[in-house]
Amino acid sequence: MYEVRFHGRGGQGAVTAANTLADAAFREGKDVQAFPMFGVERRGAPVNAFTRIDEERIDIKTQIYEPDAVVVLDASLLDVVDVTNGLKPGGILILNSSKEPGSFDYGDAKVYTVDATSIAVDNRLGTETNPIVNTAILGAYSRVVGNVKLESIFEAITMNVPVKVENNQKAAKEAYEKVKGV
């Protein structure tokens, strides 16, 4: 079982990211779950979303406390949220940042960065102040974690992100290519 936690802000699309990732894995014949943080958070507030992926049927219904990977959609969260909380030893941390992975120190976590914001803006996803980075970052995820193919993410985007499908796919592809630390 592989467990992923996404960090974003209310309205930024973390939940869609989790859903899209799950859907992508599902298309590869895996069993999946995706769920938001169960809360009442409002737009702007830090929120989480989760994905579970397994070859076997997933029975467990608990929340995710010790993810294998953490994906951060908004680097400004790093100051306000303890993003590696519970991250498995040696787990993966994917950050939306223009910086190099090496400029972050998160202990034994393996850090990867991708400038998803620029990619999103380039692909006209969201606005400059409110770029929608969730599809881009999934491209990076696909590359880094490798348990979901980029093609599956493309497919899942078609279902879960009904607008600007191609732009989103393109963003995912670019991020797949540009992610740093691999």
Binding site: G10, G11, V40, E41, R42, R43, G44, A45
Partner: protein, 297 residues
């Protein structure tokens, strides 16, 4: 500005969305009401963002019981205060969202008005059930897309006109009814003051945009609220002793802007066609004529 006015009785740290009109509304209302106030609220955004245990944004006594009974709970508070000899100099305000006021809490409100309690009921209207994720309310205006009045092949979005809540409340014959708007703070505050000074029930309908539900920028909240008045979509008035036929418009735009200026700023109206907008314009024009507002630009 008096010292009381400087008190922030609706504290920072509440978890409303950035740019939420409810925050502005409640802050300003409580500035007028002051600390000698007891409030009741409905379930809704206001409650959820302000009372999450173990925190509370309220500096005054507050009670939330359920979604549909702010007015009835307030009635219990008011009568108890009187019976216990503590009512003198104390305001009782019952807050309700539009859902808690126009729909599910309307009967409790109507009963409270009818029984003549000394309570100021304040509806903070963001034209849908926001707390549960933007569902249609009878406050939702014609044409707005919500999750339960979605635009679709067979649907224009909300198909019913906005329920005229202030007129309905005024028709109860209560001493004071008014509409207000967070863009017009002075007008709002004056009305809150009058309502609180009224002996017996007063009803205040406060227009407060919701950037999340109306789908506009978080910085547009006040501008959109203002446009509602400037276009005549939302008219600011007072009604004394329920005399609906003699309502007093308190803010008259010099010239009315076209409703399109208002509609096009909000993505909830994004799907409306020219014809749809023309229809809305016509209805607004008719209403404004009735209210004696100036003609459209």
């Amino acid at each position: 500005m008096t010292e009381k006015e400087e008190l922030e009785l609706f504290a920072s740290g509440h978890r409303a969305c950035a740019g939420c009109g409810e925050g502005t509304a409640v802050r300003q209302i409580l500035k007028v009401a002051g600390p000698n106030t007891i409030a009741t609220i409905c379930t809704g955004c206001l409650e959820v963002v302000s009372t999450g245990y173990p925190e509370t944004a309220w500096e005054i006594p507050l009670i939330h019981a359920a979604f549909e009974n702010s007015a009835a709970v307030a009635a219990g508070v008011e009568v108890a205060l009187k019976e216990l000899g503590r009512k003198e100099g104390v305001n009782v305000i019952a807050f309700g969202g539009d859902g808690g006021t126009f729909d599910i809490g309307f009967q409790a409100l109507s009963g409270m008005l009818e029984r003549g309690h000394d309570i100021t009921y304040i509806c903070i209207d963001n034209e849908a059930y926001m707390n549960t994720g933007i569902q249609r309310c009878s406050s939702t205006p014609y044409g707005a897309s919500t999750t339960t009045s979605p635009t679709g092949k067979y649907s224009i979005g909300e198909s019913r006109p906005k329920k005229p809540i202030a007129a309905i409340c005024a028709a109860h014959g209560i001493p004071y009814t008014a509409t207000a708007n967070i863009a017009y703070i002075n007008d709002l505050k004056k009305k809150v003051k009058k309502a609180l000074e009224t002996e017996g029930p007063a009803f205040l309908h406060v227009f407060a945009p919701c950037p999340t539900g109306w789908r506009h920028g978080s910085d547009d909240t006040i501008e959109i609220a203002r446009l509602a008045v400037e276009t005549g979509v939302f008219v600011l008035y007072e009604i004394i002793d329920g005399d609906i036929c003699n309502l007093n418009v308190t803010v008259k735009p010099k010239k009315r802007k076209p409703v399109e200026d208002y509609l096009k700023r909000q993505r909830r109206f994004g799907h409306l066609t020219k014809e749809d907008i023309a229809k809305i314009q016509q209805e607004v024009d008719e209403k404004c004529d009735r209210y004696g507002l100036p003609k459209r630009e």
